[in-house]
């Protein structure tokens, strides 16, 4: 016969046992609720919540490397922005292409380009002759469904900094007269205490201006256009000599709004991030000029004198992926950058290697989802002396020019496994891939990406006239569903 004491102890044990079991069940079960809230958490929308630099969270120091992850092989050359940039080429086609004269009517260098790249001529002409008309027709029939997406895009793009109309020797330097916001003394700039110190300051300012990610690189002249584009205060017929005062490049990136971005190609827009990046670029340049130094913003969508992706790589923001877009740890490829070239003495960052080259070599999600076939499924090729994956710009351009909504595509950005919001699940996956030298996790996570997050059948992304269904990678967010707000 047990004593009262023993009885009490037994019941106390029973109580602990059952409450513990209940606790375990409750603890494990509420992980599901934790997950649900973590998935919905607005703070996972990296870059759309904070202006304090709190989103540049990846520990880059651990992944720094002395050699950037593109590979230099042999002689390099610079981009001829008059022909190698598809927008400039289209400009020539619009201005001076006539069916009667064919390419003979175009300037010599454009003719030479098209003779060397007959496929590009075919694709560029196909766009002008047929695709635009098809797009217009489909837009009349189906375009209204995307009017909220267009309104959002136009609202973001409504505020534009001025175009640069003077050459770098004039435009980049502070003015001694005129508008107080551009005044400074180019002849006696403030002496900065140290480049390290200045870099720290500039990065903080870039974050305060709304930049999500910022990095600094010594400007490699290979990234400067050989011939400039129009609208930069430069003579497009003269080779561009790299100005002496373009010493460092500060690159600042901001993301496109996440939910519309996943609903590409129809609901997304580049202009939300473009416009923020543009304004940051001009503000940052003004900050530097006030200190008496030269600064020139290079801003999206067309106003550059430099190729931006390699600068992002040099500055350690990320690595260039299979789709040609730079993949960053925090934002994936959901990043729209602006560059400021300056003679302010700065300490450059180091490039990083967090496993993207290995990941991209087997993943191929973007190449499989790209309806235009512009993203290579095979290996890297040598482009102007650097080994990398090269996207077929004309194919890409033709596809995105034929879309409705905000006329663009960005499917490769949306489907990239690195383009994920900042919750525990994706942050963990990122850390696993970044710290795995074997590539085993890369294969496993690619498999999961394809199983868990499949997209539509690629041809369905096209407009109906081209045999598609206006498909989007994901459903649009509630605030872009036109049918819920507008009488159609």
């Amino acid at each position: 016969m047990p004593t009262d004491d023993a009885k009490q102890q037994v019941s106390r044990r029973q109580f602990l046992k059952f409450s513990g079991a209940a606790g375990a069940a409750l603890g494990v079960g509420s992980m599901g609720l934790f997950g649900y809230q973590a998935g919905k958490d607005p703070s996972s929308y990296t870059g759309w919540k904070s202006f304090e630099g709190g989103d540049q969270t990846f520990d880059r120091a651990r992944f720094e490397t002395n050699s950037p992850t593109y590979e230099k092989v042999g002689d390099t050359s610079r981009i001829d922005a008059r022909t190698e940039v598809v927008f400039s080429r289209m400009g020539y086609i619009f201005r001076s292409y006539k069916d009667e004269t064919g390419i003979e009517g175009l300037p010599q260098h454009v003719q030479a380009y098209y003779k060397a790249h007959p496929e590009d001529l075919e694709l560029d002409l196909y766009l002008v002759r047929e695709l635009y008309a098809l797009q217009r027709e489909d837009d009349k029939k189906h375009g209204d469904a995307f009017i909220l997406a267009q309104a959002w895009s136009d609202a973001m793009a409504a505020v534009q900094p001025p175009r640069i109309s003077e050459p770098p020797e004039v435009a980049d330097f502070p003015k001694t007269k005129g508008d107080r916001y551009h005044r400074g003394d180019p002849d006696s700039p403030y002496k900065m205490k140290s480049p390290q110190n200045t870099s720290k300051l500039i990065k903080k300012i870039a974050h305060q201006l709304g930049g999500t990610l910022v990095g600094i690189a010594t400007l490699n002249p290979d990234w400067v256009y050989r011939y400039p584009t129009r609208g930069r205060g430069l003579d497009t017929d003269k080779p561009l000599e790299v100005p002496k005062h373009w010493q460092s490049a500060i690159v600042v990136g901001t993301p496109m709004s996440w939910d519309p971005m996943y609903a590409n190609p129809n609901y997304g827009t580049s202009d939300d991030a473009y416009s923020i990046a543009r304004i940051i670029g001009f503000r940052l340049a003004a900050f530097i000029r006030k200190l008496g130094y030269a600064a020139r913003p290079h801003t999206p969508g067309f106003s550059y004198d430099v190729a931006v992706p390699p600068i992002m790589v040099d500055a350690g923001l990320g690595e260039q992926g299979r789709h040609g877009v730079v993949i960053t740890p925090e934002l994936g490829c959901n990043i729209r950058p602006t560059v400021v070239t300056t003679n302010l003495p700065l300490q450059p960052d180091k490039p990083i290697d967090f496993g993207v080259q290995s990941f991209c070599s087997t993943c191929k999600v973007c190449a499989e989802q790209c309806p235009s076939g512009a993203i290579p499924k095979g290996g890297k090729t040598v482009v102007r002396g650097y080994r990398r994956w090269q996207v077929h710009a004309a194919k890409c351009h033709n596809f995105w020019s034929s879309n409705l909504g905000n006329m663009g595509c960005r499917i490769c950005v949306a489907v990239c496994p690195y383009t994920r919001k900042a919750n525990w699940l994706h942050k963990t996956a990122l850390q696993v891939t970044a710290n795995d030298p074997t590539g085993v996790s890369h294969a496993a996570l690619t498999k999961m990406q394809k199983l868990f997050y499949p997209g539509p059948n690629p041809p369905d992304y096209y407009i109906p006239s081209l045999g598609g269904k206006n498909a989007s990678y994901r459903e649009p967010p509630w605030w872009l569903r036109t049918e819920d707000f507008v009488e159609l």
């Binding site: 499989e368 989802q369 309806p371 076939g373 499924k377 199983l451 059948n457 690629p458 041809p459």
Partner: protein
Amino acid sequence: MSLKLIIVLLIPLVLIAAWVAGARRMQTRLEPHLIQVVPGTVELKPLGDGSFAAQADERVVGYARVDQANGYGGPMRIAVGIDTTGTIAGVTIVDHKETEAYFRKVLSGNGPGSFVGRHVSDPIEPGVDVDAVTGATQSNLALVTGVRQGARTLGTNQLGFDVPAADPVRFRFGWAEIVLLMLFVTGFAGTYTQVPGKKPLRWISQIAALVLIGFVYAIPITLTHINSLLVGYLPDWRTQFYWYLLIIGVLLPVLLTGKRPYCGYVCPFGAVQDCLGAVGGRRKKIPEVIQRWLGWFHAVLVFAAIFVALYTRNPGLTSYEVQGSLFDLTGLLYQFVVLGVVLVLSLFIARPWCRFLCPINGVTRYIKTARSSWRNRAK
């Protein structure tokens, strides 16, 4: 005659009716496809060799034809169009008999659009200049072969191109065939002879099958094989010897002796369930009544699957197995969910898939029943 025998005899009659009805409704119009593959076509003019000249305003703008190649589930018909320079202008798939999830995989690698722009003299060969889609090799091969055949025939006959001659078909007997043969030999030995150490032998055989037939080659028998056989889509025995080995190895023993060595020794999905059973102890018993109901459900399910396949003449359509979701992670959402349920159940009960869902088991069980009720017909 017993009721059982009547049902046994009725089943083939209904299936034959489905086959005949299916044959009658198979008439696809080809013209829309032919017009689609050469952009700008207004009119088609037959050229005698099965090809068509695509014309607009009395002017030839290209050539088109429909060719056929053997896929996993049966023939695939592909319309190919070329322009007057010999460049492929368009490709459409007229019809195919592939399993949906696998065919999507093929299309994500080699969509019809991906062939446009290639020249008739290009190799058009998986792994050479077009994607080799792993996990759906046979479906992909059919698509690519169809396109190549069509393009080359058009190129040679209409434009006089000197295109590379097709390789002669060679008898293929590789590691997959050897492995399968060895597993069957083991299975027959275990089933029909009194070899010592039967239990470890069966485990070794099953685990080898799980790794090789399941994960490495990913080609266990499926309902598609049975359906193809019944519809009459027989692949080329020289390139598809494995197919014949598999069908004969599964069906012959049950026809002759009423035993099923494949299930116990060769089936990789059976092996998975046995392994999980060993982990979980599978000591739960299902009540007799529920077993009987599930048995009827199983019979009706398999019968319906074969019936629909025969009527639609599409062997891959009703191949509802979930093993593909496990072995090469291909499948529709419901298949993954069913797979999950089956895997968890097989911890607690013996081979739930085989007993209540497996279409192959449905077929072999019918054969067994037919044999025994025929033998007992006099009684």
